[in-house]
Symmetry: C2
Subunit: 403 residues, 2 copies
């Protein structure tokens, strides 16, 4: 079924059919849903417009197949099961779909909210949590069955529900998330999912709109939409509390038009520095992660959206908001300078590194292609035809905290 779906799509979309070499050269035959294969080199690409995901293999740099029927994927995100076999796809329409990458089919699908923006898997792999705008809250599911185990409504004030943003996994079946409407950060302990315990830090700053946890799981950082600066919590402290950092960073006093709020989840931590997209400005900010003070600014080609470190931290790759979203720039971190500017295609929406950083995969929505680039030579190694690709997610995310 999946195979047929993809071929049908190819036939009806001659514009980008020329990029289909990876399917035409016989590799597709390997992609039979029953193929025994390792899952460490698999991933998915969101087909934003079609409500589908394409399964990809990062060793062959090939398309394996597609899975349709996933609903509204206009702002979709994906996390993976501990074994790398299943993708959990969070749709904007509140749909949560468990997809089997080996059989290339849907295993479970629940409409769990009216408007959802992503989720996380617990460190032990047993729980999947979804963060929802409407109704505002977090729902926790059994990762194998998608049975609902816990419902954590984001209630505040006189019983209103807040939109939830910035959900991340923490060690020990815990999750952290932020309440956009309630100016709060919550830490939920789901070690017994039937009796979740939520600790709420209030008054953290106005309108947290997204958040991240550093790769070591220590610092949870929320961006503030309603004022300048960010709210940071040191999760290793016995009694975590909120501290404000980077008072000059943010939306509040912003004199420039902002074409797209940057994704905080894309922040790069490389060595002892974090690289942040400036909001509205054509700059990447460099922050010392010991003092959390800004220590530099790197001029770039547009308003940065994703600022992502290659896994070894030696390079940081940056894409941009309209109208500069045909470009990608590469920052060399030892010298903190832009060393390359690429034009991979029209409407670059996302980038994903292979786990050891040898390649980066870039989705070019309006060219309907994913470009695979060698990060050292910056040569294109493959060009894969995918309809309006947006997010790219590889299974190695299952092995890392905060993804």
């Amino acid at each position: 079924m999946q195979r047929r779906g993809l071929l049908t799509l190819m036939a009806s979309a001659p514009l980008w059919a020329s990029g289909c070499a990876a399917l035409a050269d016989g590799r597709a035959a390997e992609a039979s849903p029953a193929t025994l294969r390792g899952t460490g080199d698999l991933g998915v690409v969101i087909q934003r417009a079609r409500g589908a995901v394409t399964v990809v293999n990062t060793s062959d740099r090939s398309l394996l197949g597609e899975i349709t029927g996933l609903g509204d994927l206009s702002h979709a995100s994906v996390v993976f099961s501990r074994d790398g076999r299943y993708a959990y796809v969070f749709g904007r329409d509140g749909g949560l779909t468990q997809v089997d990458l080996l059989r290339e089919r849907i295993v479970h699908r629940v409409m769990q909210a009216g408007n959802s923006i992503g989720g996380a898997v617990s460190a032990d792999g047993t729980l999947v949590a979804a963060q929802n705008y409407v109704p505002g809250g977090v729902k926790v599911f059994d990762a194998k069955t998608l049975e609902l185990l816990a419902d954590l409504p984001a209630t505040y004030g006189n019983g209103q529900r807040s939109r939830v943003v910035g959900l991340v996994d923490l060690p020990q079946r815990r999750f952290a998330y932020s309440l956009f409407d309630a100016d709060a950060i919550c830490i939920a302990d789901c070690s017994d999912p039937t009796r979740p315990r939520v600790h709420t830090l209030e008054g953290i700053g106005r309108q947290p709109y997204d958040a991240l946890v550093t790769p070591d799981g220590r610092h949870y950082i929320a961006g503030l939409f309603g004022e300048d600066g960010l709210a940071m919590v040191d999760l290793w402290e016995p009694q975590p509390k909120v501290r404000r950092i980077l008072a000059g960073y943010g939306r509040g006093q912003q004199p420039l038009p902002v074409y797209k709020m940057p994704h905080l989840r894309g922040w790069a931590v490389a060595g002892r520095h974090a690289y942040l997209p400036a909001i509205g400005r054509h700059e990447v900010l460099v922050v010392d992660t010991t003092t959390w003070q800004e220590v530099g600014r790197i001029p770039v080609a547009g308003q940065p959206v994703f600022v992502m470190a290659r896994p070894d931290g030696r390079q940081v790759w940056v894409n941009f908001a309209v109208p500069d979203y045909d470009r990608v720039q590469v920052i060399d971190t030892p010298s903190q300078r832009v060393v390359d500017t690429l034009r991979p295609g029209k409407a670059v929406l996302h980038m994903e590194f292979t786990p050891r950083g040898d390649t980066v995969w870039i989705s070019c929505r309006d060219d309907h292609l994913v470009r695979v680039i060698d990060t050292a030579t910056r040569q294109t190694l493959a060009t894969l035809a995918v309809d309006a690709p947006s997010g790219i997610f590889f299974t190695a995310r299952a092995q890392r905290m905060g993804f």
Copy 2:
């Protein structure tokens, strides 16, 4: 065949048959070699005495089966294919065996040297390199077929061959390794494996006996057996050169008997500190990775062998040489203090963390068991019967540099 082998072993080894619950409770039925499964939660345990490996699942905490016929595994090590499906097992007898974890069988096996101590897989997954004592050198194989692609004899002086130690993968099909007899560090570029280029740094210090690369791939560090101190190379410099660090660290002036030389590969880098096993002393050294100066010493229960950071860096776990090898200690890195002492079993030889650090697996050779411990509560979650277990290796190593 593999299943039968394991059952036969169980019947003939009543001593530890009581620990076989994981096989008796029906999970073994899932382990049919034809089972479609993800490989992100698989691993192998070396059965040192029997020339076999046990395949394990870290989600179920179960034994899946075993693969025999791997030769002398008295000092074996393992690396994984990029997709997580295949283990490459390096035996002390020079055997290199490619094992299929899904079908639980040997795919390829070559006797490639007389005495080998390990290997590495290139960042792109296409090459497997073996480091050999006899004949001294490195051999590079096609990762799919084990066809020999390059032979890099470690020739020096009047044509002698040096033993090779400390082989690690670097970005771009490169490897670094050290020559024990030639006091040298080599960087081999195998981007064209038929024409490998080897750059040798000479006079790096007497008798490098083991080495590591930091998790970011930047610093290659070799321990010196013939004198105090370590040799370090900053691989990010345009012209890498050797610098001596930690002049007080080493074997040269050692006044204490050393029961077992610590494994450098086990060094922990957590945050901005590295935690090193002192040689001969009952101490773990703390080193600042910016200055590479010693900044502290933590007293521990014996001569440390492996000093390993939990993936998030918040804890460092330590095991010990004879006679203290029944113990494991846990260091809390923010306070740099020992916070727990465990006695997991007789003759603790190795430890391996699951990728997100929720559990640690510990091999207790003389109790013939592997203990799975929750790193937060330090409770035992499972006890698995394995004959004389030594090294434990999980497939997530395929996603990391220097493993």
